[in-house]
Structure formats: structure tokens, C-alpha cells
Amino acid sequence: MAREFQRGHKAKISDLTAGRDLYVGVRIAAPGLTFDISCFGLDAHEQLSDDRYFVFFNQPKSPEESIQLLGAQAGDTESFRVTLDRVPESVHKLSFTATIDGAGQMSQIGPGYIRVVAGGEEVVRYAFDGPEFTTERAVMLGDFYLKDVWRFAAVGQGFDGGLDALLRNFGGEVAEDEPADPPQGAVPAFAPPAQASPPPAFAAPPAPQAPEPPPAFGAPEPPVPAPQPQPQSIHAAPTIAAPMALVAPTGAPPAPQAPMAPQAPYAPGPPPPPAPPPPFGHVPGQGAPPAPPPFGQQPPVPFGQQPPGPPPGAPGVPQGVPQAGAGLLAALQPYKETATGQRWTSQSSQLMRADLTMGDMPVLARQGSMVMYQGKVDFGYKGAGFAGRIVGNATGQEMQLMRCTGRGQVFFAEDGSHLHPVELQGDGICVSAENVLAFDESLQYEVRRIEGHGIPGGALFTMQFHGTGTVVVKTHGTPVVLPVTPTTFADCNAVVAWSSAAQVIISSQVRLRRNAYPGHSGETVNLQFRGAPGNFIVVQPYEV
């Protein structure tokens, strides 16, 4: 049974699982950012004395293969295989870290986790989320460490520097070139040992989805092409002050100059300065003794590293300058447009860029969904077609489309909903008409209606797409993708899309059921889905 760890929790591996051959999965993601996830094999002094034990994308295994990088799989952004029994004695600690490649900061990340899987079963998980971090650019997620026996600790400690600062913290040198080992191609020779070892000893966790989900929803995020060269940020300096560095904030130059010098009024209770539960968000410089930061997390950003030179005309204000540096451009850097050279690019989870110059075909989009464009783009009217109009006239629900033609880049968004590009390659998908934002004109589509009394408006309109191209689907909130099983039901108001793999004919396989519980209004209409394994449905957490 999986245990949920909080930051700082520790446990013996033997208490978690009897297995010694472990799978470590890390999930960390943020719109527009890429992450380098690596494992440091440290010696007893927590130094990287042997850089062959720095396992990362360029060095995917340690010499005796006790630590191997496996790549993304089973919902994890990155995964490792760790065979504890083969870890050499000189290595006392394996530290798993994630660093942002390029610009960005950890506060932007979405919910993520580090988990340990043994024998195909998850035994421990430490979940984290963006709001736990601020401007960190690297984070130590969790450790395996040897203290009599191997143990696991959920760390969750951030660093303001990037990968190179992390390396320096562990005593490694930052060579401009990557460490000596030549990049080894694919995952090295992992399959055979896995087969040979007792089967349950190591198995990647089962993929959460059914085997062959044609357009894995949300997955076709266009890969960011070349890893941008890590900008030589100002943080490359030795910024890794330990969290306790806050102890003496007096010496820090641009520290807030005691914004509330007569700090008496704030201590609400009788105990004045000594140790109130840091009443004021422990404003540094307040003079209060550094009581342990409230819940033991958030290594405070060391002040010493802020680039000096806050505005001159502002005496006595906590005018620290943001980590990203001063100025308008630095502050807005995280929100820069990302160009990937692909036709469809997610700019963030809520904004999609279509480059009309690629592929040379128009885009059809919901009317009014364009927020910005560059270049010469023409927006024209596009009706729903003859059949669509018949359907539309029957119910007044015609889908209003516009056709974007020309050369340039168009940005689509609507009401801040989450957007998901779904790339079709000869397969099909049905999308509820309200959830279609834009699609390539190369796709064939038809409007269908699913009738049933009880459905608001009399029928549910869906658009079935097939062919080759991209559909952008919008959802309110993060959707869930469910495999279709004999007992899959969805609320007709919340269902967004479902696969229309060739052998499935949705219209005849959707069954409407009326669930009337005692005391229930009986208005709920559920759709049942049936299909061969490999089909899926997408449901949003929002009922229109």
C-alpha cells in the first residue's frame, strides 16, 4: 500500500518494502518548461566524489548499473531503476533532483510527485506542488540514504541556482562540457535483467491508461526541440546558502530594513520579542530570533544573493529585487512566447499558438476565440455546412466557426479554459461541440447528435473528427481520461471527448440511462460508453 509522505518524512526502505530493486518515478511539469531530472550518488560527506555516479540524461547509468535512467514512462516525467544491493559501499546517498532547463521557476510547476515502486506496486509517494516553492530553479526531491540501512526521505528543498549550482553544492566541478562519458544511446540493456530477475522484483507501474489510446489526450504536447542553452543566470553564483542562513539577516545588504521597526505592536501576546510564533510571516530583519521556520519547509531565499542595486529613491523599503532580476523584461520573462517551429504550440495550458505558415492550410476555430495574431491573417465566416445547418436549425445550436487563412501566427484562447492539442493520425475522436476550440481544416468532421429525453436541449451535439491533423479541445479544469470498460458512465454535461476508434460506433453504443435514486431529482442523464479495449473518454470537472 502506498504511503503518502510529507516533506521531511523518512522511513527505512525495509519498512516500506522487502524489495531491493526499486523503480523511482518523478513527475514534474510546468507549461513551457523542461526539466532535467538527475540522481546524484554522494559519498559519506555528501559530496559527489565520483562523477560517474551523477546519473542524468547524458550519463544514463552508473558504472555497475546500480542506478539507471529509464526515461519517461507510466505517467512519470522521468524514472530510474535503483538496485540497492549493487550500489557500491562508497555511495552513501542517492539524491534525486529536478532542475529547470532554461528560464523559469519552481513556483510555476503543477502538482508533481516522486514515488518509489517495488514489484509493480507503489510503496511510497511524496507529492509536491508549485505553491510550495517560489523562485527556486532546482529542487532536491527525495533521497535514498544509508544510515545503518537504506532509508528514504522526502526532501523537497529548493535551490535558487540551476543545475550547476546544485552540482557545486555537491562538490562537483562545472565543466562547460558535460562530464566525460559519451552519451549512451537508448536505455542500456535493461530489459534482459528485468526479465531474468524474479518477475515481481522490478516492474514499471502499470500504465494508467488502457493500452492503445490513439491520441493520448493531452500527451501530444509538442516536444520542445532543442534544449535551450542554459542562460548564464545571475544565480549561477554560489547561492546555495543553507536554509539557516537566515539566522543573521542583519548583514544582508538589501534586506528589508526592518519595515516595522517598533515591532512591539505586532506581538499580540504577552511574550514580546523572544519567540512568538513568528507573527509576521517572519519578516526578516525584524529582529525576532529565527524561530524554526513555521512548518519546516521553504528554505528561505537567502538575502545575500539578491542582485544589489534596488532603486535609489526608496529608502527603507523592503525593495528586494525579484530573483529574475530587475526590470520589466526580466519580470515577464516566464511568460515569453515560446516558438517551437511546429504548427500547434501550447504557450501555456490556456493559450494555443497556431502557425499558419506551417502546413499551409487554414485553421477553423470557434468564433471569437482569437486573442492575438501576428502577420497577415484573414478571418472569414465559416458555416457549419449543410448538414450542420439542418441540425442547427432544428435546435438553434449551430456551431459558429471562423476560418483563419493567410500567413502568420494566431493565438487562440477562450475564457481561460485549459486547452489540449490532440493530434490525429488517421484515427478519430468525438468531441462535444462546446469543447472544440480550433482544428486543422485538413480534418474531416461531421456533426452528430445524440438524442435522449432528459438531455438538456434535447440532444448532445458532438463533432466527430478523423483524418490527419490537430484538434484543440478545451476543458474547464484539469480533465480525467478514463479507459472504456464495460461499466464506464459519464455525465452528459461533463463529458468532453471520446475516442472513435474504427470498431466503435458511438451513436449506437451510447446508452442513455436514467438514474433515479430515492430523493434524487431523476434529472441526471448518464452516457454509457462501450468499446474495445484501448478506447477512452475524457471528462472535465465542470458541468456546463
Partner: protein, 226 residues
């Protein structure tokens, strides 16, 4: 219970303005360092902070902006920590370094009182865009917080040779040195109910940036109405 909520405790103050999560702004207030904030945006504060709605200075500068008695800005002064938010919109903190930024009035959350600011009307467009575009141009060295419905995007106009066209409802902010003009993509077909739904855009050209939000809902929820 504390365990689960622990992750949401405020982080130590390192700057005058900081994000707490994506949608909340934390401002370290000090005497003599006043702040202008959107009226009604305060969600919490610690310390002694006073609010002056409708301050005379604002009334003077923003006399055009508002037609009645109320102003959309309040002046905050005092010592302490101030938390601001705008109905869950994303907050972006910008430190101006002797720069200028023109922010849509709806998207302005707070700014340092010592900055130079003025209200201007975007020429030629106010009558087309539903709410009329009132813009606050902030200049100098100091802090500004703007809001955006959803994660915003920043586009560099100087990159391409073409102009950048933005839906006025999705526009958040831009560099004041850009040249702005309105564009009507208006065709005869629009008159017979066959428009593309994109009737008016603002065209930007020159060196600078434009900030756009992924939503076309720019209704001013806090606009003071008479």
C-alpha cells in the same frame, strides 16, 4: 490539520511585492511607502494598514477615468503585510527599472505610490471595445502588480516585420512606446450576419512588448458604477 495546511504558510518576505501562489499578491508595507491598490482587492492584512478610498490625488489624475464619485483605486499606507487578490486572476509582479508600462485599467492590481502615473484613453478605440479602454500608464522605478485571467503571454513586437494584432478584450498591458492603432476587420459579409466574430483589433508596431491574457472576459468586476 496543520500538516496539510502547512504548505500554504507565507514565505519569508524578500521583496516589496511577491506572489503567494499564482493568484495572490503579498506586499510588504512600510511607513512612507504607500501603495495604490484596486478598491476591494484586499483579502487579508497583518499589521497596521489604513485604507483611503477615493484619495484626492487619484481623483485628480483619474478624473477622466471616472465619471462619478468613486475611484477604482484606494491608497494603502502603514506597516505590515498586505495580501491582495482579484477574483482568482493570475497575478504578475513587475519591477520597473526606470521603465514604463501601460496597463489596462481592469488589469491593474497595485502599484507603488511614488511611481509616476496617469490615465489615458486609448485613442479611437474606446467606442468600439465594449467597455472603453482606459489605460493606466505607470512610469519610473518601483513595483507594479497586474492581473490576468489565466497565464498571460508576452509577445515581443519588435520581432517580426508585421504588426501584432490583439483582441482588445484580451489585452493586458503593453509598452507605451509602441504605436497603437485600431483595426477593423470589417467586411461586407459581416453585415449580413456572417462575421468572423473578430471585428476589432488593436494593432501594435514598434519596439516593445504586449501582454495578453488567454481569456476575453475583461469585464470590470470592480468598476464603480453610478
Amino acid at each position: 490539520m496543520n500538516q496539510q495546511l502547512a504548505g500554504y504558510a507565507p514565505t519569508p518576505v524578500t521583496a516589496r511585492m511577491e506572489n503567494h501562489g499564482h493568484t495572490m499578491l503579498k506586499v510588504a508595507m512600510a511607513t512612507g511607502q504607500d501603495l495604490y491598490a484596486r478598491t476591494g482587492s484586499m483579502v487579508a492584512y497583518e499589521g497596521f494598514i489604513q485604507y483611503e478610498p477615493n484619495p484626492p490625488a487619484v481623483r485628480q489624475i483619474a478624473s477622466q477615468w471616472i465619471t462619478g464619485e468613486g475611484t477604482p483605486l484606494m491608497k494603502c499606507s502603514g506597516d505590515g503585510l498586505l495580501y491582495l487578490a482579484d477574483y482568482g486572476a493570475d497575478v504578475v509582479v513587475v519591477h520597473l527599472n526606470d521603465e514604463a508600462l501601460s496597463v489596462n485599467g481592469t488589469n491593474l492590481l497595485a502599484f507603488d505610490a511614488h511611481l509616476t502615473w496617469g490615465v489615458e484613453r486609448v485613442k479611437g478605440l474606446a467606442k468600439f471595445a465594449g467597455q472603453g479602454l482606459w489605460n493606466v500608464c505607470v512610469r519610473g522605478t518601483g513595483w507594479v502588480a497586474i492581473t490576468s485571467r489565466g497565464t498571460p503571454i508576452v509577445v515581443d513586437c519588435g520581432r517580426g516585420e508585421d504588426e501584432t494584432y490583439v483582441d482588445p478584450d484580451a489585452l493586458v498591458a503593453w509598452s507605451p512606446n509602441l504605436k497603437v492603432k485600431g483595426k477593423r476587420s470589417f467586411k461586407a459579409s459581416s453585415l449580413i450576419g456572417r462575421g468572423s466574430g473578430e471585428a476589432y483589433q488593436m494593432a501594435f508596431s514598434g519596439q516593445g512588448i504586449v501582454v495578453v491574457q488567454p481569456s476575453e472576459d475583461s469585464t470590470d468586476r470592480l468598476r464603480i458604477r453610478n
